[in-house]
């Protein structure tokens, strides 16, 4: 196929979107500050182009795609069991949580249901990955605001959770443990007691962070009233997770649209905060870590016995159809829209990851703030680059 000159020009123009921004760096009205793709505060390759008037941001654009790995396309040339390896790497801090909605969607298409024990252990690992993810967020948040020590405390105590995930799945970061119809293995011996000890440790970590970070006057003055998202705006931008609950919207997929996991059989609470500022988002996350440790404790106590794998064929062929399953991942709503044509691999997978929508509010939120507040707001929105770019 040959392209006309006009088509070629159009193609080049579309490719050179970043180039255009670079040209705009030279404009006369105010200073344009280009943050990223390599910038210590974006923990990944997010690019932020902010126009400044002094230290005040007049407008900011978020450029993503520097880490696009084409997972949706790659899924089309993988078989169903192989996809979990890919999706592990989307939100790399809470990897197991990425596998669950995809496996649930495939199970729905195959009309298979995992046995109760598998569902309970799935929920358990799901919450452990939430703790691993969000506890690191708390440390990272402090680091972005200039305090180094809490980051190391977060790394130290996250290790207890990662050890537990590792001893079940064999992988610290990328478990690749979920299977269609259940799980790969059962829990190892003595694991329950160790996990409970780790949860005690994590609750102590939460208390420590509450004193060291959240209770600090400087931290509060940096985050309170900064980056306020009203509930209506938050909903209109499609925010999810703690960003939405921090704006006072009581919405949690674990409670409101629970599929395949056992949250309806547990006693837990959805935390919200009415303020909608950076502090409330961070506060909600801290409470969610606490709540997750309680959920883990309950699951450890009430774990049913039985098989961990349902009867599924050796070679998995998913019947033709479409399914969309979303779960409340550490970062927010994560959904997989799986289209099958009856093959061993999916025909099309659309991944709705939370960070992509969460970061979309940044240009609206960053207008008129000071440069240091860019960091506060981005840190409190809490995105993972792999979750934005996929």
């Amino acid at each position: 196929m040959t392209l006309t000159d006009a088509q070629q020009l159009g193609y080049i123009n579309a490719q050179a979107a970043d180039g255009r921004v670079n040209v705009e760096l030279e404009t006369d009205d105010g200073m344009v500050l280009n943050m990223g793709p390599q910038h210590p505060a974006t923990h990944g390759t997010l690019r932020l182009v902010a126009r400044l008037d002094g230290e005040q941001v007049t407008s900011a654009d978020v450029m993503c795609g520097y880490m696009h790995r084409g997972y949706e396309k790659l899924c089309e040339v993988r078989s169903y069991p192989q996809v979990t390896t890919l999706v592990n790497r989307i939100d790399w801090l809470g990897s197991f949580a990425n596998e669950v909605p995809f496996i649930l969607a495939a199970e729905q298409l195959m009309e298979v249901e995992a046995p109760p024990r598998a569902q309970w252990i799935r929920t358990l690992l799901f919450e452990l990955s939430r703790i691993a993810n969000v506890s690191l967020f708390i440390g990272d948040l402090a680091l972005q605001l200039g305090a180094q020590t809490p980051a190391f405390y977060a790394f130290r105590d996250r290790e207890f959770v990662l050890n537990q995930i590792e001893s079940v799945t064999g992988g610290r970061f990328h478990p690749n443990f979920d299977r269609i119809g259940g799980l790969k293995d059962d829990l190892p011996k003595g694991w329950i007691a160790e996990t409970k000890a780790a949860m005690v440790r994590l609750r102590a970590f939460c208390d420590e962070m509450e004193g060291l970070v959240y209770g600090n006057e400087i931290f509060q003055s940096r985050t309170r009233g900064v980056g306020v998202i009203p509930a209506a705006i938050a909903q209109s931008y499609g925010l999810s997770g703690a960003n939405l609950r921090g704006s006072g919207v009581d919405w949690d997929l674990r409670r409101d649209a629970n599929v395949g996991l056992v949250y309806d059989q547990l006693d837990w609470k959805v935390w919200t905060h009415p303020d909608g500022d950076s502090y409330s988002r961070c506060w909600v996350r801290l409470q969610e870590v606490r709540e997750a440790t309680k959920i883990v404790d309950q699951i450890c106590d009430g774990l049913p016995s039985g098989a961990i794998m349902a009867k599924v064929p050796r070679i998995i062929k998913v019947p033709a159809g479409e399914a969309y399953i979303a779960t409340e991942n550490p970062l927010g709503q994560m959904g997989y829209y799986v289209v099958s044509k009856g093959d061993t691999g999916p025909f099309r997978v659309k991944i709705r990851s939370a960070s992509f929508n969460n970061i979309s509010i940044a240009p609206w939120l960053l207008r008129g703030v000071y440069v240091p507040d860019i960091i506060t707001i981005l840190a409190s929105l809490y995105f993972i680059l792999g979750d934005i770019d996929r």
Binding site: H39, A142, L143, L145, F152, Y370, P372, I374
Partner: protein, 346 residues
């Protein structure tokens, strides 16, 4: 003609002067090295539940040499659009201001470079010279982060110069002299409510000034929570962004040597300087013990500085300015007023 008797040997003027130059060099390098190793490497690591450097020498004590060697090997990169001459000169201005600070610092009855009548006045004046170097570095780097960092540094250092000077004024009123030796003597010979056992370290009577001085020091050193000029998560270490190799090392030494200088200043003003209680100020032995005493006190102040550095998050630029003008300066002024009234009353 000044002469100094060391172990009974009378030294000539040029010998004394060379010794003093050597002493100032040592005084700059020793606290800087001790701060980096003891506080930045070790104390910070222990606070953060890790070990820090452990491989180079026992407990990583040779790590400093390794770091210096690393920086010396690195390529000295100058950005294409940088103002080369200013870019080269900036770190030396910063370092020079630090060296000059030590020139008025007394380490013992005869261990000093100069003994000016207006020593503390000169020290505070010299400490602001580094702003020029930082501003030059920020401008000459041809980098927006550096420029923001340089301007932030200038605004911050000017804002915190004032509370620092006002805090020192309280001490000067109480000591009745601007001479640093005189301030040491005043603390050694002073008495608290008639009790003269340990003299009167001004920490006890000027504790408000000490607090203000330490906070202002923290800001002058651009240490957390006042590290916006070098905030690595916002503006990528600010004015140092484009510096590498030797020139970065100079900035680094400058930063920690200045920390040493301010700690020495705080130790001299508030902790009694090189003097020891119960030991006469004229004692010749103090020429040898004095530097060690002062060094110990420098480490004590340094501990406070770095403790805060590892604990707090950083302020925002406007909050920092508000903190200086709304809280620190009024507190320092009230302290001066109270000191004056008490000085006249007693």
């Amino acid at each position: 003609m000044i002469s100094l008797s060391v172990l009974g040997v009378e030294l000539a003027y040029w010998q004394v002067t060379s010794l003093r130059v050597l002493g100032v060099l040592l005084a700059v390098v020793l606290p800087a090295g001790a701060f980096v190793y003891l506080f930045l490497f070790k104390m910070m690591s222990f606070m953060q539940s890790r070990l820090g450097p452990m491989e180079a020498g026992p407990f990583g004590s040779m790590q400093l040499l390794a770091e210096v060697g690393k920086f010396l090997q690195k390529e000295d990169i100058v950005p294409e659009r940088a103002d080369r001459r200013l870019f080269f000169i900036a770190p030396y201005i910063v370092l020079a201001s630090t060296f000059l600070l030590f020139s008025v610092m007394p380490f013992g009855p005869d261990v000093y470079f100069t003994n000016l009548d207006t020593g503390i006045f000169l020290a505070l004046g010299l400490s602001s010279v580094s702003v020029i170097g930082i501003l030059i570095a920020g401008w000459a780097s041809a980098n927006k982060y550096s420029l923001i960092g340089g301007i932030r540094a200038a605004g911050q250092l000017i804002a915190y110069e004032l509370p620092m000077v006002l805090a020192v004024v309280g001490v000067v009123i109480q000591a009745g002299t601007l001479n640093l030796q005189g301030i040491v003597a005043a603390q050694h010979q002073g008495e608290i409510f008639g009790f003269s056992g340990i003299g009167n370290p001004f920490l006890l009577t000027q504790f408000v000034a000490f607090g203000v001085f330490l906070v202002a020091t923290q800001a002058e050193l651009t240490q957390t929570p006042f590290d916006m000029p070098v905030a690595e998560s916002e503006i990528v270490t600010g004015y140092m962004t484009e510096y590498s190799g030797l020139r970065f090392l100079l900035f680094f030494i400058g930063e920690f040597a200045t920390a040493g200088a301010f700690a020495a200043l705080a130790a001299t003003l508030f902790l009694g300087g090189w003097a020891l209680p119960f030991v006469s100020l004229d004692d010749n032995a103090m020429n040898f013990i004095g530097p060690l005493v002062l060094f110990a006190k420098i480490l004590m102040v340094g501990f406070l500085i770095f403790w805060a550095r590892f604990t707090f998050p950083r302020f925002r630029e406007d909050q920092l300015q508000a903190f200086a003008w709304k809280y620190l300066i009024p507190i320092a002024l009230i302290n001066i007023l109270v000191t004056m009234i008490l000085k006249v009353a007693f």
